[in-house]
Subunit: 392 residues, 2 copies
């Protein structure tokens, strides 16, 4: 077990009708004027935005609205949000949506607080000194941004997708009503489940030993998400299944699943470039490349993959050597992905990058040779290109 | 799954040498003068107090010391601490020790902040409006007070042991170096392990259904503590076993293991009275009464006890009816307690209450008929007296 810090200050308000508390919550956290940030029409049509606005009005807190966040949220809208916040004198950012909306709000918060283009942080040219207070009313269980220290923004100039992590952007509170995820399309629900699982798996595949409690939590979380993803494929209105997946989404990425381990994160970096170039759903992109990553790296620690196979995927411990178990575990995960209609290759994801595009993706991924990615196996540009190729 | 709030703002700094960061941490949290609160001679003898003081000096933060906290911490020392804090103008409370020291610091923080006798809160006559900032350098893995919202104080006037919970007292940070627990006597180590497990079991025994992720986390935590408690019996200097138990102690009582469930807490109330009258080690007291509680209540939800038997205690699922499994699970837990030299009866705990004393314990426990205890099965004074009798 390696030394670690664990810091999850976000207050979670979880359950039915919890969004009705939004007004009193923003007031409690000192907001005088709130920017309500959201995505497309669904929050309007469902009446959720109206309920949030009514809750703020009841608490006597004024607000201004900014919609239009898209998956892989764009820097240009962040700039627009910064302008609006300054013009209106907003002092609190309330994201109503999923990870993209929360990440966009976090970027606005960084930009206004530090009085600069927040891309400086995402492009690793500077470190933020703070962030306006951000909170979330969650409508998609996936990214875990409601409790995490991370956000990811796409810069249209070059279609670069980059993440930035700091404790400053952690949500003050997260309102989490599983019912708000009922109307997500099946593809987005499944994609969210993959994202949640991958946030745990990125941390689980480690060379660190003696991480018994963290392992047990990771394994329980992965089994829970798989079980409930299958239930949701049949019945999207199952409250308890929605609740399990939603709570797993937050715990998966708030730091808990990585206490004492050294995470890998190569799969996320590999997918981020796909997301930047092709605008694919993040979870689906992760599903499409994970098997290729796993087969490329698994000999670095066959026992770890064998443990995963037995404890998470239910492969019988007696089903062969550690190497056999490892391979069966990878196949079983791909079978699971397929069972919830997730892709296990780029072709199934619906994209067919040319050789030149694969080269470009790989080069962008390693910052044109300026960095490597991954810890379970350290990958350079050549490795990354091979993983993209194998996942075609 | 029931609606819940989850709020764990404590920053955990975990691992070897982490106590060396104490000075910079208290400074970061704005302390100008720190009350360093501790227990007996061990913190002095081990050199830990000297290292903490040196760390504060290096950070340029002044401090004043107050030792003398005993297990089942006393209200009189809390009063003394309040006087010292006021006299010295301390604005930050640093507990160096285990749950008793942290709880005593929390009570001092309540008293000074609210400018009143904090017993008003513990005796449920008033609600606190805040608390001085408290942080911990943990030396005993047991109570979980380093991340919890609770503290327990014993009033020598009537030997009443009472708890008070609020988010105000949550530690700003917790420094957790597993090495600091190496020198705990075996009895105290084992007693701590029981306490940790009971914080999870109090939440696990619930009638709430669809708590899949929380169940999985609880079960992993219980298995982890049992496994490592046995290792520590053989080798108290096993870093990884100490680390697993220490981290489990915090997670067990920070709220995580109860998300979506309705906890029971009768065992804690029953033990609290024992602790007040006989000054026994808290975990050992819990071990002594748990089996009697479990047998008294298990028919309220046999399936829950059967699940516990199979998933936590490793009783084979095919080993009989749910009722059989439930009984075998209880026996297996008592076997585990005995395997780490913990008592499974009051006699083994070394106390032999008279009938009159049992009556007094039971009456105090239910506030002389003013309350019932427990949720798994609601218990009145008569029930509590029977459980004390059965645990003789």
């Amino acid at each position: 077990m390696t030394n670690f810090e664990y810091y999850t200050p976000t207050r979670v308000v979880f359950g039915k009708d919890s969004e009705k508390k939004t007004g009193e919550l923003v007031k409690e956290y000192g907001a005088t004027k709130v920017l309500i940030h959201y995505g497309g029409e669904s929050a309007k049509k469902s009446g959720l935005l109206d309920r949030i606005c009514a809750s703020l009005e009841e608490a006597g807190v004024s607000y201004v609205l900014l919609g239009g966040v898209v998956p892989n949220p764009r820097l240009s809208l962040v700039h627009k949000g910064m302008e609006l916040v300054r013009k209106e004198g907003a002092d609190f950012l309330l994201a109503v949506g999923g990870g993209s909306v929360i990440d966009s709000a976090k970027a606005i918060g960084y930009g206004v607080y530090n009085n600069c283009d927040p891309w400086l942080f995402y492009s690793k040219q500077a470190q933020a000194k703070g962030c306006l207070p951000v909170a979330a009313v969650l409508t998609i269980a996936a990214a875990g941004s409601e409790m995490s220290d991370s956000s990811v923004i796409t810069n249209e100039d070059g279609w670069l997708k980059r993440g930035y992590n700091s404790n400053y952007c952690r949500c003050k509170f997260a309102v989490m009503n599983p019912e708000l995820t009922y109307t997500l399309p099946p593809y987005q629900t499944a994609s969210g489940c993959v994202d949640i699982m991958m946030h745990t798996m990125e941390r689980y595949f480690t060379h660190e030993t003696h991480t018994e409690l963290t392992d047990g939590i990771c394994e329980a979380l992965l089994r829970t998400v798989m079980h409930n993803a299958r239930i949701l494929k049949e019945n999207p209105f199952d409250y308890d299944a929605r609740a399990e997946v939603m709570w797993a989404g937050s715990l998966s990425h708030n730091g808990l699943t990585g206490c004492g381990t050294v995470g890998d994160w190569a799969s996320h970096q590999i997918e981020h470039e796909l997301g930047g170039m092709f605008d694919v759903a993040h979870g689906a992109g992760l599903a499409a490349i994970w098997g290729s990553w796993a087969r490329y790296v698994c000999e670095e620690n066959t026992d770890r993959f064998a443990q995963f196979a037995v404890r998470v995927m239910g492969v019988p411990e007696t089903d062969g050597s550690a190497k056999d178990l490892a391979q069966k575990g990878i196949c079983a995960m791909e079978d699971f992905y397929r069972s919830i209609d997730m892709p296990t290759s780029l072709a199934e994801l619906g994209i067919h990058p040319t050789d030149a595009q694969i080269q470009e993706l790989a080069e962008k991924c390693v910052f044109f040779g300026k960095r490597t990615i991954g810890n379970f196996k350290v990958l350079n540009g050549e490795d990354v290109a091979k993983i993209y190729q194998k996942s075609r």
